[in-house]
């Protein structure tokens, strides 16, 4: 990597801690961001010559805080602080602040920063956009591109979200244990949402948006590094790793969807799978299963099968049963039906999903699965009807193409009925 690249990487890595701490000082998101921005500019000048400081986050917090205070004083025409170059040269000052920031402080700062982004008053798409802007430091342009909307629209979305947060009065005191657990749960949900947005785009022509997935993985890892004993965060990290490991095989050269059973498993990322499986085993060993852990375990069973026909469907069926108990939802039942079809045939699976129809009338995958089961049973007309519904509900071009292909594969109607 060139100089600029490693400095960039170091700034990105330090960002959540630094912005989180600056937010605690200034209690204002814009001031914290500007202070961090200023610190980054100084780092770009300072680091190439002097090398990376021992604790980049502490350096950025220190320099950013001084820059902002200095700026405030200048505005009130009071005496300015000594030049920042002078201060940042002082090893002692940096050490002092690094020691002042114990890991517990970082933990709560980063958690607060993430938590602010998923304030319950914000709609999901604003939560994700805000997290990408504030925690990950993606530019508005990059985020707009990921969401396939214009830069202006994204700018507005982020400004609106920030305004709401400023009005919401998030407490700055260190949270108690119960509050911390609640925050973690909310933040985990946002990270999973971010991952899903990348994994299966909710609109447009692009079906998989890798940068969003990679960012979600980075945030999950960050959270787990801060809360290494949290089983659900471990499960979440494992889940996103295991899902993302399959990305290279999920679309073919023409960007058409390749179903799990047809994927070239040699394309799966083995390192990510190994790490994911390790994490899920570790999490489950504590015997406090939660939805992320169980979903990760299901992904691990798939990842563990060298060929599609080696998949342990009985295990997957059981895991879905556990998941249904933890988090009853028609979508979970629909997923379980796929395992049931493999174990007990399409009839049993169809019987299982019929009652879900009412709750899933607008769910693309419901009609996709239903159509596939009917197709297996040779009920061509019913299958066609289900696929037609799926086609109308498809979110991306790749989904629509996949369903069209399914329809084309159906046996053609006899000449008599076609006439």
């Amino acid at each position: 990597m060139k100089d600029a690249a490693w400095i960039d990487a170091a700034l990105t890595a330090a960002r959540p801690q630094a912005v989180g701490a600056l937010l605690r000082y200034f209690r204002n998101l814009d001031t914290a961001e500007e202070a961090f921005q200023e610190a980054c500019l100084r780092a770009l000048k300072n680091w190439p010559e002097k090398g990376l400081p021992r604790d980049p986050a502490a350096w950025l917090i220190f320099v950013g805080r001084n820059a902002a205070l200095d700026d405030a004083r200048r505005r009130s025409k009071q005496q300015a602080l000594p030049s920042d170059d002078l201060i940042s040269d002082l090893e002692d000052a940096e050490t002092a602040i690094a020691e002042g920031m114990d890991s517990g402080q970082y933990r709560d700062d980063v958690l607060r920063l993430l938590f602010i982004c998923c304030h319950p008053e914000l709609p999901a798409n604003q939560q994700i956009a805000l997290a990408l802007r504030i925690v990950s430091g993606l530019s508005v342009k990059e985020i707009a591109r990921a969401f396939l909307i214009t830069e202006t629209a994204m700018e507005q979305r982020i400004t609106r979200a920030k305004k709401r947060i400023a009005e919401a009065n998030v407490p700055y005191e260190a949270p108690d244990a119960r509050e911390r657990t609640q925050r973690l749960t909310t933040v985990a949900a946002m990270i999973y949402l971010l991952f899903n947005e990348g994994y299966s785009a909710s609109g447009g022509t692009v079906h998989v948006r890798v940068p969003l997935c990679e960012e979600a993985i980075r945030l999950a890892r960050l959270l787990l590094a801060l809360f290494p004993a949290e089983r659900e965060i471990m499960g979440l990290t494992a889940l996103v790793l295991l899902q993302h490991a399959r990305t290279p095989a999920r679309l073919d050269a023409n960007n058409a969807i390749v179903l799990l059973q047809d994927q070239d498993r040699s394309l799966w990322n083995k390192d990510m799978i190994a790490e994911g499986i390790e994490l899920v085993k570790k999490a489950l060993a504590a015997r406090q299963p939660g939805p992320y852990q169980v979903q990760a375990a299901i992904a691990a069973v798939h990842a563990d099968a060298a060929r599609a026909e080696d998949t342990d469907w009985a295990e997957i069926d059981q895991l879905y049963a556990v998941l249904q108990g933890l988090q009853p939802s028609p979508v979970v039942s629909l997923n379980r039906a796929v395992a049931v079809a493999k174990l007990h045939g399409p009839d049993a699976a169809l019987a299982m999903i019929e009652p879900l129809g009412e709750q899933l009338t607008t769910y693309f995958h419901f009609y996709g699965v239903k159509g596939a089961l009917l197709k297996q049973l040779g009920r061509v007309d019913d299958a066609r009807e289900a696929f037609d519904r799926a086609l109308a509900l498809a979110n991306t071009a790749a989904e629509a193409d996949h369903i069209k292909m399914q329809i084309e594969q159906l046996p053609k109607r006899g000449k008599a009925s076609a006439a």
Binding site: M1, D55, S103, A225, P228, M234, E275, K282
Partner: protein, 124 residues
């Protein structure tokens, strides 16, 4: 004399690398390893999974198993090499070759002479 070259870096930075960057880095390191192996100087090489996967066992009257790495540090142990060198200087030279292949600005190599080395079974 056998030396261990222990590789430390900020995991937050290394896990922020894209798959392509990581692959390119590994290729460059592999090239250095192959040169060493040809000269019969390279022993076991290991890359560790991220510290998120670690468990820590604290000894004491009652052993205690904790999640995560044993210490919260700025840089984490990411992997190690065992090399056969005449002198510590030569081992430092090997580490600096690895550092050059890495070519990114952070990280530390610690070079430590081995007190005991038992290769035992050749694991794959």
């Amino acid at each position: 004399m056998l030396y261990a070259i222990l590789c430390y870096d900020s995991e937050a930075v290394t896990t922020a690398m894209s798959a392509e960057e990581d692959g390119a880095l590994m290729d460059r390191l592999l090239a250095v390893q192959e040169k060493l192996a040809k000269r019969g100087k390279l022993g076991p090489v290991a890359r560790l999974m991220p510290t998120n996967t670690a468990s820590t066992l604290r000894k004491g009257p009652q052993t205690l198993v904790l999640d995560g790495p044993f210490a919260e540090t700025k840089e984490q142990l990411l992997g190690f090499y065992v090399v056969d060198c005449e002198t510590q200087e030569e081992a430092v030279g090997v580490a600096s070759e690895l550092a050059k292949a890495g070519t990114h600005g952070t990280g530390t190599y610690e070079i430590r002479p081995l007190m005991m080395f038992k290769p035992n079974a050749a694991l794959t």
